[in-house]
């Protein structure tokens, strides 16, 4: 029998080694797998490369992982937020490496990793400082920049429901990076609000097929309904 369900977040992240590249889902706090991040902090893996849209908010979640000095490098599109003081401090002291990627290129590079694409030409960023030193090409009247996939060893994502095969559905805009990160990592760990019986998810509505998910851990919903407005995307 296939059973990807693991008992706790701690068990789920127990083999994330020092130096791993870890994708973390979420856009701001929507879709952020907070309990998996907390487990990773408890585990204490060091020298991580983190892929996320942002660089942490306030003092919890991704920001707490940074604060614990477990992160060597972050690949993201929008580190600066009104409450990104943890990142800001590390960055200004030169204690964290930043690879800044336009958000759509970040998404497409993650998608390319999952889809086995070797590289792709994107118009985004052409002629800007973020394309400096990159290969370019004029195709059919338009200028493009060559971008490469971002692969990961682990992805930590958050979904609404999952089953023992790892099939997932998400909730509203908390879907964001979950499906593409799931496909881009060698080992994808999903925290879900509820584990359901195999067959309870309608095959028409499964968003992430289980083939992209290696571990599922149930974390019932907390009573956190208010969005915390930060700065821009």
């Amino acid at each position: 029998m296939i059973n990807k369900v693991v008992a706790t977040a701690a068990v789920a992240v127990a083999d994330i080694p020092n130096g791993a590249t870890v994708m973390i889902g979420g856009f701001g706090t929507a879709g952020m797998p907070s309990e998996l991040i907390d487990a990773l902090i408890a585990k204490g893996s060091k020298d991580l490369t983190i892929v996320n849209n942002n660089a942490g908010n306030a003092d919890t979640g991704l920001a707490a992982l940074l604060k614990a000095r477990q992160v060597k490098k972050i690949i993201c599109s929008f580190p600066r937020q009104t409450d990104s003081w943890v990142f800001d401090g590390l960055y200004k002291k030169g204690d964290i490496e930043l690879e800044l990627v336009p958000q759509g290129n970040l998404a497409e590079r993650i998608r390319a990793a999952g889809a086995g694409i070797g590289a792709f030409y994107t118009p985004t960023g052409y002629g800007t400082p973020l394309a400096e030193g990159k290969e370019t090409r004029h195709i059919d009247g338009r200028d493009y920049v060559l971008e490469y996939p971002i692969h990961a060893d682990f992805a930590l994502i958050k979904a609404l429901r999952g089953d023992r095969w790892g099939n997932l559905v998400y909730r509203k805009t908390a879907r964001n990076f979950g499906p593409i990160m799931a496909a881009a990592a060698k080992c994808t760990i999903a925290q879900v609000r509820e584990i359901v019986n195999l067959g309870d998810l309608d095959p028409e509505n499964v968003v992430t097929p289980g083939i992209f998910v290696q571990r599922v851990v149930e974390v019932p919903a907390e009573a956190k309904l208010i969005a915390s407005p930060g700065a821009a995307a």
Partner: protein, 229 residues
Amino acid sequence: MKRFTRDQMAARVGRDIPNGAYVNLGIGLPTMVANHLPKDREIILHTENGLLGMGPAPEAGAEDADLINAGKQPVTTLPGASFFHHADSFAMMRGGHLDFCVLGAFQVSVTGDLANWHTGAPDAIPAVGGAMDLAIGAKRVYVMMEHLTKKGESKIVARCSYPLTGVGCVNRIFTDLAVLDVTSEGLKVLERAPELSFEELQRLTGVPLIDASAALTAEPVVTQRREHA
């Protein structure tokens, strides 16, 4: 000189968005356009974190942390909405499916180069988000900004001094002083603020302008979107 107010600017942008358009409103000033879209038009708002058919902010107490816009503020959905992941969302932009985006800017050049993500200050923490994708991704890119910096310098420039967001991507500029089109012939002034002469606008702006305001009619100048029956 009477400047257009921010509400007037937002309403002016709204007039140039036709019925049926798919639109992304950037963070900051452009967000105000949502409140000024003509009531007789059905316009579908996109937010790049994964939603088409975005509705207004929820009432107090009805916020949902899983339902936010690109500015991470709580929003709602309209009937007909759909959710999708980030790669699909940015495919909508990069693939040219959005009809309009409205962006703020630090500077726009006469050839439509846009600078809106970075002041270039050496100690600033860089952050780009979806700015570059929006700049190159919509069929028509509208910029909405104040005409002059606080020091009185024109934000419409011969060549951007700030780091670029996109090359030759801006189609129309809405400022508190004028509405201008970026064309192959140069910048065409479509409208001026009340009591502002073309000559005064030219003097304030610094780069060569073409006076096309005579061509204005009472009807908004709209761009046709991809046809549907």
